[in-house]
Amino acid sequence: MAALSPSHGSRAQFFIGTPGTPGTANFEISQYLRQAALGMTRDKAEVTAFRSTNKNYVAGILDGTVPIDGPYDANVDNNMFGLLTLASPANTVAYQYGPTGIGSGLGILYTGTCMVDKYEVKSTIGASNDWTGNIQLVSVVTRTVQ
């Protein structure tokens, strides 16, 4: 049994493309994030028939979203607003997400292509200006051991 190797979320790094070069994930947004969640899902079609005692399924196509949020900053605002308003098809934005960092020896790296389909800016008198965004994955996630 391999021992657990836990890690803290504060070490995560996230890169994304820019409006000028969406296909290159060279804009770091780690310093603008409080959280990021790579949510990968799989369609399933139920094929349960008569006389079954348990539901049956066949697996379908992969999908996924990455909700992200953090403290507002004019720099990340410029990039996210630009990605949200990219000319259609707007689905060539590259991303890199490393839960324990991005670089040689820093653990697992997830990469792929996406589009930004939500970006929100919020001001509240009792808090910092904040932003939230949603990234829609448009390609298979590549998992790499750095």
């Binding site: 900053d73 605002d77 929100e120 800016v121």
Partner: protein, 249 residues
């Protein structure tokens, strides 16, 4: 890695049709969304999408006040049955000299919800939603050039540097004025070297005297055009209280 420059929400400003309404609000959120169409085909291993049309809404809450022409209840009750208004949201503020260069959004939209609420143990409060309308100009992200203030004489703002590349896609110039303006003319100037500036043809707004209102160039429905060089600033002649914003495309 560029360092984070965080800001507190209490410094935000919101304006509508020339009126500052920050003093009535306790929170404001602008949410942009992008429609997407799935184009996944047989033999795909991951879903595929193409981006579609953008949509956005503004949502805010605050304290009820109907005591004057520019008070929030007076404005919102009227907007509920009128067309597009020109909203302005600056998360880091648009008042005071320190607001120069702050990022902001100019939003054309109509109110599709306004609520007034009374509770026995609380102040009277309001909540509202604004639907961004592309026909009115949609939403533009840009910078505060001339913070909301009273100008007693003509002048120029400092310049904003857009980097080494000129744009041939024009931009959107927006001015919000209070009711004390007199012969006010607000123009966009640009420069290649941050030394010699020239007026950008067409980008001039001449607000109506003594009128609280908001103005936009180009007009809603007109696609911005024209070359905007690297450095831009606002020039004004006349007097009055106003805020100027520019979004380069």
């Amino acid at each position: 890695m560029v360092a984070l420059v965080p800001t507190h929400g209490s410094g935000a400003d919101v304006m509508v049709n020339g009126y500052v309404v920050s003093q009535y609000l306790q929170d404001f959120a602008w949410a942009g969304m992008r429609e997407k169409s799935e184009v996944t085909a047989f033999k795909s291993t991951n879903k595929s999408y193409v981006g579609g049309v953008m949509d956005s809404t503004g949502v805010f809450t605050g304290m009820h006040d109907g005591s004057s022409a520019g008070a929030i209840d007076t404005l919102m009750f009227g907007y509920l049955s009128s067309g597009d208004a020109m909203w302005f949201y600056a998360p880091s503020g648009c008042q005071g000299s320190g607001a120069f260069g702050n990022t902001a959004m100019s939003i054309a939209g109509f109110s599709d919800k306004y609520e007034v609420k009374s509770a026995v143990a609380d102040a009277n409060r309001i909540s509202a939603e604004v639907q961004t309308d592309g026909l009115g100009g949609g939403v533009d992200r840009g910078f505060v050039y001339s913070p909301y203030a009273t100008q007693g004489s003509s002048g120029n703002t400092a310049s904003i540097d857009f980097g080494s590349v000129s744009s041939t896609n024009g931009g959107v110039l927006v001015v919000h004025t209070a009711g004390d303006t007199a012969s006010l003319v607000v123009s966009l100037f640009d420069s290649a070297d941050n030394s010699t500036f020239a007026a950008v043809s067409g980008y001039t707004l001449s607000p109506t005297n003594a009128t609280t209102a908001a103005y936009r160039y180009p007009a809603a429905g007109t696609t911005p055009t024209g070359t905007i060089r690297r450095y831009t600033r606002i020039n004004w002649t006349g007097t009055g209280t106003f805020m100027a914003f520019f979004s380069r495309k």
